[in-house]
Subunit: 282 residues, 2 copies
Amino acid sequence: MEIVNRVSRMSAITAKVLSADVKIGLVSTMGAIHPGHLSLIQTARKMTDLVVVSIFVNRLQFLTDDEYKEYPRDITKDVDLLRNESVDYIFTPPEEEMYPADFSTYVEVENFGQKLPGLHQAAYFKGMTTSVMKMLHIVKPAFLFFGQKDGLQGAILRKMVRDLNINTEVVVLPIVRDASGLAYAARNYFLTEPQKAAASVIYRSLQAAQAAVAAGETQAKRVIAEIARVVGAEPQAKLEYAVVADPGNLEPLTKIQGSALIAVGAMIGKTSLNDSLLVEKK
Amino acid sequence: MEIVNRVSRMSAITAKVLSADVKIGLVSTMGAIHPGHLSLIQTARKMTDLVVVSIFVNRLQFLTDDEYKEYPRDITKDVDLLRNESVDYIFTPPEEEMYPADFSTYVEVENFGQKLPGLHQAAYFKGMTTSVMKMLHIVKPAFLFFGQKDGLQGAILRKMVRDLNINTEVVVLPIVRDASGLAYAARNYFLTEPQKAAASVIYRSLQAAQAAVAAGETQAKRVIAEIARVVGAEPQAKLEYAVVADPGNLEPLTKIQGSALIAVGAMIGKTSLNDSLLVEKK
């Protein structure tokens, strides 16, 4: 495993292996490596010949400076965790190489999921797509791995890849959860133990939604009401959004037919958490 | 020479040759092939192993539907001209493959040249950068060739390539002109013979600007006034813009020191023409 700090070196390495017909897998992270990341890495290992894990806290996808500064960073611990996996390269570019002072080029997926409540933070998604586009150019992966927790992100990236003819497949994998059902996430780091216990309500609300669909419910409105009911029962949780959308184009659904992405966002104390699952109506 | 119409086939061809360490050159055109394009192709031939000429009238970079519809298209004539050059592939994707109905991802170079008069048509540049980004992903060139006539375009693309870590070098080559000094351009097709003669005033205005700089003029304002004077003397020409800018970041210059990009746009009848040159102040 080698740690690469320079964009030019990372780019040279991937260009060289590509000419030898090697398939590259990229697990793009903001650090704070958790079991969810490790599961992506294990799949990347099976599907590709060379695994790159990027660790870059992307300023552009934070809505406030404070949020950016407070994001958990512990590169020593991350490297230790990754050393136990078979990762070929850890790519940790410095901020000034990724966004030099005169940086001003952005990639934006427009008119996508804009009708969904809680998704109006266009700046967030524009920052995310721009950073991933740069990573794709530097690392040149055949496959890019994301967790279903960031299911909206995965759907937006699939659209970007298709629209811009990028030769990379976005692979979205199931969420890894702790025993309480809480999805592993960097932001869990901010939770106290009692908050962690409370946060498990998010997954329970998704399970309740799934159960309702399995029991025959097809009205998105009622599924959303069910999520609100379950989250509402937990005093420490504040529902930010609950949406039922077409997983392909993120258009809100009124009726569930075929597959639907159910996504929930909730605040636990001052921490914003997201979770989602795909349901399939036969 | 092979004509490729499908995005997937072009992408497969270039992926295959790249793994054999072949350097690809792309001459990106909207057709109406003229001696300016041929000169780009000849340089591409010298610098690269495989030359792709793309012919695609990019709807996104027209400000009106009429302009888009009226743009000269003659693929048979273009192919005949290219057959005499050593072009490996002509890539002519259909509109619906480049921009399917749900297309919505754009690449934009922000805060670049926005202070320049005549450059406020942000939609034009956003359409241009988006289309070129797609072409770069499909064709994967080591070098992308542009003429100095589109010097502003070249500067914007260089910024895009740098900001997004694209492994392609933008090569800007000198303008090819007819005996009168008029730069070869697709839009010349719309000019009557008397208009063509009148259009040569654009290059004469640039020559006058260059002569003024060579004679010691360093004030951009006076150079611009000189251009306006020369163009003003031609009744069939209407100056649209005359700018003196830093070729690196397109910021308008007040004083000429080192290199400066002098660009002129003028209407001849209903046809908008552009020309530019680089001056070097020692």
